[in-house]
Amino acid sequence: MRRLVVLLAIGLLLFAGLAGAQAIEPMPFKDHAQELRFQHLTAQLRCPMCQNETLADSNAPIARDLRHEVFRLMQEGRTDDQIKQYLVARYSDYVLYDPPVNPTTWVLWFGPLLILLAGAVVVVVTIRKRSRSGAPPPTIDHGDDW
């Protein structure tokens, strides 16, 4: 029984490995460091076709093309920032998973903070009003003080 479980686990792992390898075709990397850099970079870029997937994960044809493009630019000796700029110039900020702070993303970055602040103001105003009116804080008898 135990052996069966182990076999099953190995089978699953193999299958998972195959499934993962399907998306990314092997590229002629110079060394392991370059491969890691490539994986790190494509994981930060969004596939323009399937916007919930990274370039690294996506099976869309355009993601494949763009992975090759990223690889080509790396071979040309461009830095990560230059490669990102290259893609942003063509596909806009949408290709970045970490959106830059600019007027079009202010709501995205500061909106939640504003709502939180508004909530805090309401809470403070309510508490102040209560303490000024002199009413004792309502004591609720849950009847559970055993």
Binding site: M49, Q51, P61, I62, R90, Y91, V122
Partner: protein, 180 residues
């Protein structure tokens, strides 16, 4: 008064969600705004579909506005859009340039023979390399390029009669007004 705050907060949330629903139903969630609008079209040199020895370059197309329509025989929505291009193309007052994207030239020719050919110029980008410079990520996509080679408008996805009336024709009319 302060008792009404939760009520107003609730109303505000309803408004926010309502706006979200309205926004989603009026905007294509997959359309990415092109950073190339109002910028010069990228340089390109692509073989003519029916005469691969002849290259079509950006320079060749300068001088009058044109509509660059990215299409492919494998693209389902292109076949939906195609009859519209054939019907409206001649009345638009701009040249129709076909950009055959990641296609086998023979497939493209067979497809055009079957569906009709509304294009005055046809070029083939078999590898899709030049399309990356245009920020193309699917088909159909269509660019309106003015006489100076500046991209003025982009449509992602197939044209519909409504989009042609409301977006494309005004954009072309604006170009015509400028050149006068």
């Amino acid at each position: 008064m302060s008792r009404l705050i939760p009520f107003f907060a609730f109303l505000a949330l309803c408004g926010l969600f309502g706006f979200g629903i309205w926004w989603n139903s009026h905007h294509d969630q997959t359309a990415i705004p092109s950073p190339l609008i109002n910028k010069p079209a990228p340089e390109f040199a692509l073989p003519e579909l029916y005469d691969p020895a002849k290259m079509v370059t950006k320079k060749d197309l300068l001088g009058k506005p044109y509509l660059l329509n990215v299409f492919a025989s494998w693209c389902v929505e292109c076949a939906v859009e195609h009859p519209l291009l054939e019907a409206e193309g001649p009345t638009l007052g701009v040249e129709l340039v076909g950009y055959n994207y990641k296609d086998q030239p023979d497939d493209a020719k067979a497809w055009l023979a079957r569906h009709g050919n509304p294009y005055q110029v046809l070029m083939a980008d078999v590898s899709g390399q030049t399309a990356i410079d245009f920020g193309v990520y699917a088909a159909p996509e269509t660019f309106l390029v003015d006489a100076k080679g500046v991209i003025r408008y982009k449509r992602i996805g197939p044209f519909t009669p409504e989009v042609i009336e409301k977006e494309l024709k005004p954009a072309i009319a604006a170009l015509a007004k400028e050149s006068r």
